[in-house]
Every structure is written in C-alpha cells, then in structure tokens.
C-alpha cells in the first residue's frame, strides 16, 4: 500500500531493496536449494565424522585442569575462591536481616518500599504477596530466594550499568561486549552449573554467579541504548557550559537514560527469577526446592504453589521498579516535584516505622518466621483439577472433531516433526552451509553470509550435527505454532482492549512460571517426546509473540489508519492493507524474539523427552560430561546467532532489537 511505506520500484517493477530487507525470499530460496541438493546428492548426507576434532575432550581436560589446580593456582586461591566466599556471605547477610526482621518487619519493609516507589495500589499488592508467601506455607523458602535474588540483582546491575555505559560510549567496547552478551543469553545456564559449583562452591556462591551471568545482558544492552539515544544537541549544550566528560555522563546522559536503564533492571529481575529452580539443582535452596520436590513425588499442587510464589515475587519486584521508573518519566515530573516536599520526611519516617515494627515484634513478642498454623494448602484442589483434565483431554474421544491431545501429539510427531528431522539430518553439510550463507547474504550482505555459513560449519565441527537437526526441527515447528496462535490473538487483543487487559496477567504468569512446574502436565497431555518439547517451548515463547504483535499494531500512526477509514475500508481490510504492512518491522521482531525464547527453552524440552542439543546439555550436568554439555551449549548459541542475524533484517539491527526487548516486559 503506497500510503504506508513509499517504495521505489527498481528493475522491471521488482522491488529489490525490499527483497534484500526481508529475509523470507532469501530463506525460501535457500530452502529450495536444500531440497534440490538433498535430492541429487543422497550419499553425502550429514556432517563428515572424521572432520570432527576432539573438542569435547579438550573441554573436559580443561575441566580436569581446573579441578587439579584449584587449591594451588593463584587465579583460584586469590581471586575466584574469595569472590565466591564473598557472594555467599552477602546472601547469608541479607537472609539474616530478613530473618531478623521477622514476618511483620518484612511485610512493613515491602509495603514501605512499594509506597516509596509507587502508590497505595503497589503497596496493597506488596502486602498481599508477602502475606501470601506465609499463607501458602512457603515463608522460609521465600526468604532464601529473596536473599539470593537481592544479591544477584544487585551484582548484575552493578556490573551491567558501567559495562553498558562503556559500550554506549565506545564502538570498540560494544563490539567486544556484544558477542559475550549473546553467549551469556543463549548458552543454557545448565552448561555452566557444574563449573560454577567446582569453582565457587555449591549453594549461594554458584547460585549468584549463574544468575548474574544469565540475567545481566539486558541491563547492559538497554544502558548502552539509553546513553546513545541522548540527543547530540543536548550534549552540545552541556559541552558549551564547559562540562567535563564525567560531568556530562553524570549530570546529563545518565539522568536522561534513566528510563531505559530501569527497564533493563526490570528485565534483569524477570530473568533472574526465571532460573530460581536451576539454582536449587546446585544447592542454593529457596523456592526451587518445593518445585523439585513436588516433581519427585508427582505432586503438581506442591510445584504449582511454589511456582505461583516465584511469579508473585517477580511481579512484586517488577512493579516496584516500574513504579520508580514511571516517576522519573517526564509526564510525572511536575507531580513528582510537588510530592518531593513531603516525600523525604515520609521516607525517613517509613524507615523508622519498619525498624520499629521489627524491634517490637522481635523483642516484644518474639515473632520471627510466619506462623505455620496460619497457612493453608491449595495442593489438593489443584491435583484434583489436573486429574480431571487428564481424564478428559488426552484420548481421541474426549474432544469432539479435533480429537484429544494424544491424537494431536501423534499427528505432530509422525507427520510433521519426524519427517523434518529426517530431512534435516540427511542434508549434506555443504548444502546446509551454502544455503544458510546465501540466506545470510540476502539478509545482510556478503559479510553476514560468510559469518552465518561459518556458524553452520561450527555446529558440524562440534560433533552435534544430528542432535542439531532434531533441535532445529522442533524450533521450526514451535515457531510456526507461536506465529499461528500468537498473531491472531495479538490482533484480537489490539481490536478489543478488554482482551488486552485480561491477557496481561496470564502472559506475565506464563513468562515467569518455572518450566519445571509444567513438565508433568505437558507429558500427561502430549506424551513423552518431541511434541512435549515443542509444547513446552510454545508455552514459554508465545507470550512474547502476542505482546510484540500488539505493540507493533499499536505503533502504527493513527493518521494512516484514519486515511484508510476515509477510503471506506473495512476493519479487516485496514488490518491487511494498512496496519500489518506498517507494523512489519515489529512483526519481524516478534519472530526474532520468539525464536530466541524457543531456543532458550531447548533444555526444558529435553526434560520431557525431546532429545536433541538440550538433552546433550542435560547429560553434561547429570553425567559429569562437561565437554559434551559445553559443545551442545555452543551449538545452541550458533543456532541462535544464525536465526537472530537472519530475522533481524538489514540495517535495523541493534537499535530496534534493543527497543523490542525494552518494551517486551
């Protein structure tokens, strides 16, 4: 539609620029080449095994070297071990404080923090959540998790903001840091659980380290984005007043970048809480423990209860930070300035009230942990409900017309996933490499093409070609499901604001609920295997698809839509001809983010029988095969890089991606 995006038509009316900008024609072309190639070659299928170096052994010997030198080499005795000890002490200190405050003190502290940052509504929410921890019988677990999260988030922010500032100032730093961020986000935390334990010790030290590695990238990215976004004329004005570089940073750039930075902190919180259960695998304790115990005895209610507590904690921390963030926003400036007069005395008074409550309850009444006889259990209604669903949804007679989930599962396995896996596994390696490279050239030029081709060679050299094919098939199917379900729901939520509002808490829950909670339901409904894996990934990734779809459509300029209406177009016509084309970059971003999230869920997929690279990573932890785990982890990273660079589209790389992450919350 000429109205929305004026395009220059090139040779013979074909829009070459658009072709280069979108990856789809490139992908289709590459796909076609692969099919033809596979048909004519046949014998040269897969990746030549004798080319695979023994990199896995190299990784394992690195692991052995560390174990052998841990008590002698200065890098360990003088740096790593003390750092680990320090982290452990920090967590213990926070837990000690929270324990000493007792439940009335923690409740008062949370309400005070919520009130200081937000409104009475935030405070009410805080009170409900904190009381909920106790009422659900999870008080001490929640305190342990709160301690671990406080320290992890503080360390992540303390590392992330300076790093982000440096990356925002310097292209060189940005170029060095970016692949590290990609690796930290895409290599599953499972891979470095065991090394973290060996280097830093089990429990809190390793728990903090793993959480920090996984959760820091967003705040680095968003800080850099915020620093760069400060307008040149503002900087110039600052300079003309004779400000030094440091003054510019502290007085101009950081204050103006406060919103993206707070958004980054928000993302850190979400990501940190999403791996609480992993921390329990290495003895860090907390809310992950009841999740895993429920799993061991097939008690969905127990796992779900703890899962809800994790979700609630994420929402609470998120709301407090968001509220603080929105106060800084320009729209609130006038009000904030006015309220500053009574704010400071109130804050001082609040702190005193918290301490007073703690002292009185502690020394006056001897109150500490939440009284266990006040708690109640939601386990049995949950388990009863789950059993009912299980009986009524699985078999083919249970749902009219489409059949039960069991039938859906067999169909997906037999007719979709197995053929795709076989096809990908049998693909000659050179064809896969050149196909990917060709798509890369179309999406972003020769350099990107070479880069992506090398990534595919790397997957072969790591010795995980076949498992890569299994994983790739699942990623593709999960992506298609996400798009098929997510786009329409996103459009409906864009049309009907009530649906948008109703969806929000549901999407929040799906994104932060630990996947370990829904392992059993997924298996019960979809049977052990690759479909269960696809469904688990779908559940985790589809909220982002829906959110970014809504966001993209909302971002379309109203005057364009008005113009469409003036031509007498129907709602559907406007959607198809005006809104969707205009929202195209956002939709591409939705696809990009969906793939990243599906890849992040590869490990969980392996826990319900999906095999592939995720299984190798799990074996790495479970059987002490660090080499295999790391090789598969890097394989996942390479897949991630290929998909990311293909779907980012040329020219609109870094910035829009950061922006998308920024608004995903």
């Amino acid at each position: 539609m000429a109205l929305t995006i004026p395009r220059r038509t090139g040779l013979a009316g074909l829009d070459w620029r658009a072709l280069v900008r979108t990856p789809w024609p490139g992908l289709a072309l590459a796909g076609l080449a692969m099919v033809v190639g596979a048909a004519i070659s046949g014998s040269a299928a897969g990746f030549p095994a004798h080319w695979v170096p023994s990199s896995q052994n190299a990784f394992t010997s690195l692991d052995n070297w560390i174990s052998a030198h841990q008590t002698s080499a200065p890098i360990f005795t003088d740096v790593v071990t003390p750092v680990g000890g320090g982290l452990g002490h920090a967590v213990n200190a926070v837990v000690d404080v929270l324990t000493w405050l007792g439940w009335p003190g923690v409740l008062a502290l949370a309400v005070f923090a919520a009130l200081a940052a937000g409104t009475y509504r935030t405070a009410t929410f805080a009170a409900v959540v904190i009381a909920g921890f106790g009422l659900l019988g999870l008080w001490s677990y929640s305190i342990a998790t709160l301690g671990l999260m406080t320290v992890s988030i503080a360390v992540a922010v303390a590392i992330g903001i300076p790093l982000g500032v440096a990356a925002g100032f310097s292209q060189v730093v940005e170029r060095v840091v970016r692949p590290m961020l990609d690796a930290a986000q895409m290599i599953p935390a499972y891979v470095y659980l065991l090394p973290a334990v060996i280097l830093l010790g089990i429990g809190n030290p390793a728990g903090v380290a793993v959480t920090v590695i996984y959760a820091t990238p967003p705040v680095v990215r968003l800080t850099a984005l915020g620093i760069r976004a400060v307008r040149a004329d503002v900087l110039e004005a600052g300079r003309s007043f004779g400000s030094t570089r440091w003054q510019l940073l502290v007085k101009v750039q950081l204050p103006l970048a406060v919103r993206p930075i707070l958004l980054g902190i928000n993302q850190v919180i979400m990501m940190a809480l999403s791996i609480v259960v992993l921390a329990s695998l290495i003895g860090a304790g907390g809310l992950g423990d009841p999740v895993l115990q429920g799993l061991t005895v097939q008690n969905l209610g127990q796992s779900l209860t703890a899962g809800i507590a994790i979700v609630a904690m994420a929402m609470l921390l998120d709301r407090i930070v968001s509220a603080a963030g929105s106060r800084v926003g320009s729209a609130h400036e006038a009000r904030a300035a006015r309220s500053d007069r009574w704010r400071r005395p109130l804050i001082g008074g609040g702190a005193l009230v918290v301490l007073a409550v703690a002292f009185v309850s502690h020394y006056g009444f001897g109150v500490g942990a939440f009284p266990t006889n006040w708690s109640f259990s939601i386990e049995s209604p949950v388990n009863t409900g789950a059993a009912w669903l299980e009986q009524h949804l699985y078999h083919f007679w249970s749902v009219p017309v489409i059949g039960g989930t069991g039938n859906l599962s067999s169909f997906l396995t037999l007719d979709i996933l197995n053929p795709i896996t076989r096809f990908l596994g049998a693909l000659p390696w050179w064809l896969a490499v050149f196909g990917t490279a060709a798509a890369g050239v179309l999406a972003g030029g020769v350099r990107r093409g070479v880069q992506l081709g090398l990534c595919v060679v790397g997957i072969g050299l790591l010795g995980v070609w076949q498992d890569g094919a299994t994983t790739l098939a699942q990623v593709v199917v999960a992506l298609v499901l996400c798009v098929l379900v997510g786009f329409p729901i996103g459009v409906l939520a864009y049309w009907w604001p009530w649906l948008d509002r109703a969806l929000r808490p549901v999407l929040d829950t799906l994104q932060t609920m630990p996947a370990f909670v829904y392992l059993i339901p997924v298996v019960v409904f979809f049977s052990v295997g690759n479909v269960a894996g696809v469904i688990a990934s779908f559940v985790y990734a589809v909220p982002a698809t829906i959110r970014l779809t809504i966001l993209g459509l909302k971002g379309v300029r109203p005057d364009i839509i008005e113009a469409g209406r003036a031509f007498g177009s129907t709602r559907l016509q406007i959607l198809r001809k005006v809104e969707l084309p205009a929202a195209r970059p956002a939709m591409l971003l939705a696809v990009n983010q969906t793939i990243m999230l599906v890849l992040a869920e590869v490990i969980v997929a392996a826990l319900v029988g999906a095999g592939g690279l995720g299984y190798d990573v799990v074996v790495g932890l479970d059987r002490d095969e660090f080499g295999l785990g790391l090789a598969a982890g890097i394989g996942i990273l390479l897949f991630g890089v290929v998909f990311d660079r293909l779907t980012q589209g040329a020219g609109e790389g870094g910035l829009s991606r950061g922006a998308g992450r920024m608004q995903m919350i």
Binding site: I282, L607, G611
Partner: protein, 335 residues
Amino acid sequence: MNRTKGLRGWKARAGIAATAVASLGLALAAVGGAPAGASSSKPTITLATNSWEGSLSNNVVAQYVIEHDLHYTVNLLTIDEIPTWPAMASGKVSAVMEVWGHSPLYAQYVKGNHEVIDAGLEGPDGNIGWYVPTYLLKAHPELATWQGLKKDWKLFVTPQSSPKGEFLDGSPSYVTNDAALVNTLGLNLKVVYAGTEAAQLAQIERIYKAHGAVLFYWYTPQYINALYKFSEITLPPFTAACAKLATTKIDCAYPPYNLYKAMSAQLPKTAPAVASFIKRFHWTSDDQNAVGYDMAVKNMSQTAAAAAFVNSHKALVQSWLSGPDTKTLAPVAGT
C-alpha cells in the same frame, strides 16, 4: 527548566536508595552479634537430597534422629547427584545417605584425594531392570523374559519411536545400559529418554491408568512400586565377564547395586557423633518404601512420616545410635 526538575527527581531516587541502604545496614548491625554465637559450638548438619523419593525418605528419618537424639540442627539440601560430591569435598554437604554406583566419583574423591569418606552400606540392594505393567503378562506371558520382546516389540510402538517399539528411559543422570542392550540383544526397540524421572513416571502412570502397553527402565527401592504392580523382565544374567565389556557391548542384566552412604572427610572432626550415626545407619527397602509411601501417597509431612517410622522401630533406631558400623564395599567399576 524541565531538566532541572528531572534531576531533582533523580536525586530523590538516590535519597530513597540511600535511606533504604542505611536502614538495612542498621538492621544488619543489629543482627551481627546475636545469632552467630549460639550456633558456633555445634555445626549445622547438611544432608544432600537427590532427585528420587528414596533419597528424601532416608534423609527425613536421619534428620529426625540426629535432631532428637544427637541434638544437632539438620538442613536438607536439594541438589543434583554430581554436584553433591564436590560439595562434600568442601564440607558444605555433610553426607549423602544413598549413592548408586558412581565409581568414577568414588575413585576421585574417596580413593583419590580422600576428601570424602565411604560411610558403609545403606541396606537396600539397588536393583535396576526392564519392567512392564503386570497386567500385560496375562495376555503376553512370554514377556517374563527378554526373548518375548523379539515378538512383542510391536506392542510398544509409539509415534516417538515409530517404526520401532519404544523403550522408555528416565533421567540421563541414572546409570543405564539400555541402548547397548537393545543392540546386543538384537531387539527392534528405540530408547526414548524422558529426560527426568518425573516425566517418565507421568508417562507410565497415564498408560497404566488406561491399561496400555509400556516398557521401561525402573528400579527398586521406589515407593511407587507399592502403588502399582510392575513386573521385571528377565535379562541374560549378570556375569563378571560381562561387567568387563565396553559400555556399548554390554549384553547382560544390571549388576546389583550395593547402595552406600558417603560423607565429608571433615565430618568426623566437626561432629563425631553424627559421623558415627551415619556409619551405623542401615535399613531395608521396605522401610524406605514405607516412609516414601507415607509422604508421597498419604501426603504426610516429612516430620510426621519420620516420627511414625522412628516410634515404631525403636530397636532399629537404637542400633544406629550405639551399634556397630556398617560394612564398606567399593562400588562396581564402570557404573
């Protein structure tokens, strides 16, 4: 103009942060002295809880006895099997009450650097094998032995394993020879890993409730065996010669596992009474299953289940407090 206000907002934020930090610091200072002194004389004992129910059953009973009779505080720590060993080496985990095999770790930590001590046999013999639901044997009595699978593999075909029959394995962390066995015995089966024992059990339960066919890796002691009827398929007998084969060539049943206990080398120094108790702890599969059943099926709390067991087994518990140490027996190599 606007910007100055923005800056003031920023400062207010800094003010909040400073106040919060200050009040936390104050509270920290208040805490600092109090609890540290009380616990320094007796260390807290940490028992590792691994991912199967039996591991928890051992621990709740041990916890109950150590707390009530030896008066130490016990903390149960959920942790994976492999990280348990470095944790014992560093002393952060005091002991683990049930170990299945793991001879490489045994060689590294017990025989190698002496950071972990073998605390003797736990009592139950761990038995790993191939199982089917017992009801299947009515129509297919030949499934009593592995030869029956030559014909009956068709029963177990699933979309996941198609066109072969499915052999359902559990967590990758558990010791398995199943892929090798399928090959060496020439069976038309495909090994499918559920990835976690929870997923495997969910799958078995669903099929069991619908009276379907499922062939799976399973073991005793396991509390769920008290709830469902499973039958073991006889595999070619375990021999010493077979144990020496490469892991991909194995063609016999699993060896019996002498489940054992292990503890940190530091424990006898820091808490000698607890170390002695752990060396004496010894019971049976049935004991363990009873405690697991109380917790998982009857939904009793950990303390209640432990108390019920201890109160009904007074003589046994007494032998853990004053009896002889249990025998030690190094795990079979290659497991």
